[in-house]
Subunit: 342 residues, 2 copies
């Protein structure tokens, strides 16, 4: 097994090292080939490692960073002024090749801006995209959806690149052969979507490298009709957050009915943990992180209020992407298609 | 009690009279002041009425229409060529004042196009919007959301008008005093939305007639933070359909757990109908119809595969809007605000 190294932004997220250090310990114990570089305030990191009896582990090293980026800090300010932040240090390590990937639960906008600046885009990719998996009804499988909020508006070229990148993710990370790629669109019967979606559909239809299966509506995100669902970041973000809201709504209503009688209350004990798990899965960055793809390096974003197990899952996601060499594969696939189009 | 008349597009929807006639009977029995004009093929209507022992009811009349619009017919073609369709006849009756409102479960795009053409817009409104209620967590209350799919893209003036119209709906139909109006936007921490959303926010902030409460994210649609949620039709349609998808996903997972043992299966019988009801409420036009507002007349759209009770609910929604004189109230509110802005 090849050794691989992941840099962690220890100070990112609402609770910083309180969450990230236990996750680091779990990851080291779980993946024998994994090395971690912990970026952040060294003395704080050492205190937390000591608390977990994990100081001076041979596969853990520390890179000191004197600053940290607040969750509500303006991305452009963070990019310009916080050159010694834990997030910047972690991304720098990916850039220099000292780490194979970076995981952060910090400010999403800042992570996007700094990752874009430090790592740069892959050739042929204009914008990075946030991608994650969503669960599928009656199946252990899932669908990749992108962009989940990195870009407000995307033109047809950008959406085309997202389709390409999502297809590589599904193929490489999930080993799906010829993944079915769909464009998220509104009800066909009303109006068949905006011009740039139609243009993207036209581009995808004539690209044999992509198994384009057409438009998909919101109610089919979870039905397994597509392995990759492509949309702009505004729509993706709202769809995703709406999922979370509906999950909580349905869960609340179910628990209310269950609590109405003694008999059914018993069922609540059985259902409650599973329902909570479903709702959590509907929030992918709380579940296993969302990946920032299109960059010359692997960056996984965990939720600001991720638990230790969610941040641990995000580290595992990064490990998987390193093993499958996702950016390299995206680069190759894009090169082939760009060559054909030119 | 004042008499009121609703025109029904009997032939619209997947099952036409099989659904609409029983709903008409229910509505007539439920609302003593209601008169219905059934638009469609007279002999078919008479056959169905006879089957339900409801022929020659004094509060039911028939307007014959020789054509009907297919669910997949192109709206522009339906508008141009189907001048004797059941949908067109029903809308014509609203236009001439013979009916106070129209209810249809037919082709949404055609209904939009023909309603727009026949009824025309209220002064100061550029585009009609589809609006409906969504349930709120832990409450019997709901939030109005618009546009749900009538318009792909909306500029800031259109979104502003939608906010105004939604506010009137909440005030008049739901008797909410000074309804809280919010704009649906993506996660603030990533990027704060598109330019036209920011422009709409600026417009709303300086309009004292609207109780504008700021941006709302997808996960807060159901938490009761706002009484009116405004977005463009593309986003609204996708958010709404995603809700439906999540509802089914969660329900599927819950039923799977329930079916795992004999004991819990018993409880499943108890939960199943309530769960189905929740999922149904997430699809407003299957629940009580979506209203097409901004027009000089009341039009309620029921789902293509609505059940009799859903189509009945849509008729009741139309009755409510007639009683509260919704278009008149929208007109008045817009006049006041336009006067102030000019």
């Amino acid at each position: 097994m090849v050794n691989l190294t992941v840099a962690l932004d220890v100070m990112g997220g609402d609770l910083g090292p309180l969450i990230t250090i236990p996750s680091a310990k779990m990851a080291i114990e779980h993946v024998p080939s994994l090395k971690l570089i912990l970026c952040g305030d060294e003395s704080v990191i050492r205190t937390h490692l000591k608390e977990h009896n994990f100081l001076d582990h041979p596969r853990i090293s520390i890179v000191h960073a004197s600053e940290q980026i607040a969750m509500d800090e303006k991305p452009s300010v963070a990019l310009r002024t916080k050159k010694d932040s834990s997030m910047r240090r972690a991304l720098d390590l990916v850039h220099t090749g000292d780490a194979d990937a970076c995981v952060s639960a910090g400010n999403t906008g800042a992570l996007l801006a700094i990752a874009h600046y430090v790592l740069k885009m892959l050739p042929g990719v204009e914008r990075p995209a946030l991608v994650s998996h969503l669960p599928i009804t009656d199946s252990a499988s899932h669908a990749f959806m992108l962009d989940l909020g990195a870009n407000v508006f995307c033109d047809s070229d950008t959406l085309f690149q997202f389709a390409m990148m999502g297809s590589v993710m599904a193929e490489e990370v999930d080993s799906i052969e010829s993944p079915r790629v769909a464009l998220l669109n509104m009800g066909e019967e009303v109006i068949k979507g905006s011009d740039h979606i139609k243009q993207t559909a036209a581009l995808l239809s004539k690209t044999p490298e992509i198994n384009y299966v057409g438009f998909i509506e919101g109610n089919d995100i979870f039905t397994g009709k597509a392995d990759v669902i492509v949309c702009d970041g505004f729509v993706g973000n709202i769809a995703l957050k709406t999922c979370e809201g509906v999950g909580k709504l349905v869960m609340g209503k179910v628990m209310k009915i269950i609590n109405e009688s003694k008999f059914t209350r018993l069922l609540g004990f059985l259902l409650n943990p599973t329902l909570k798990k479903i709702v959590k899965r509907l929030n992918p960055d709380q579940y296993n992180g969302a990946s920032l793809i299109g960059l010359r390096g692997i960056v996984v974003k965990s939720h600001g209020n991720a638990t230790s197990s969610a941040f641990f899952n995000a580290i595992l996601e990064a490990v998987k992407e390193v093993e499958r060499q996702v950016p390299e594969k995206i680069k190759n696939k894009l090169e082939v298609s760009l060559l054909k189009r030119s």
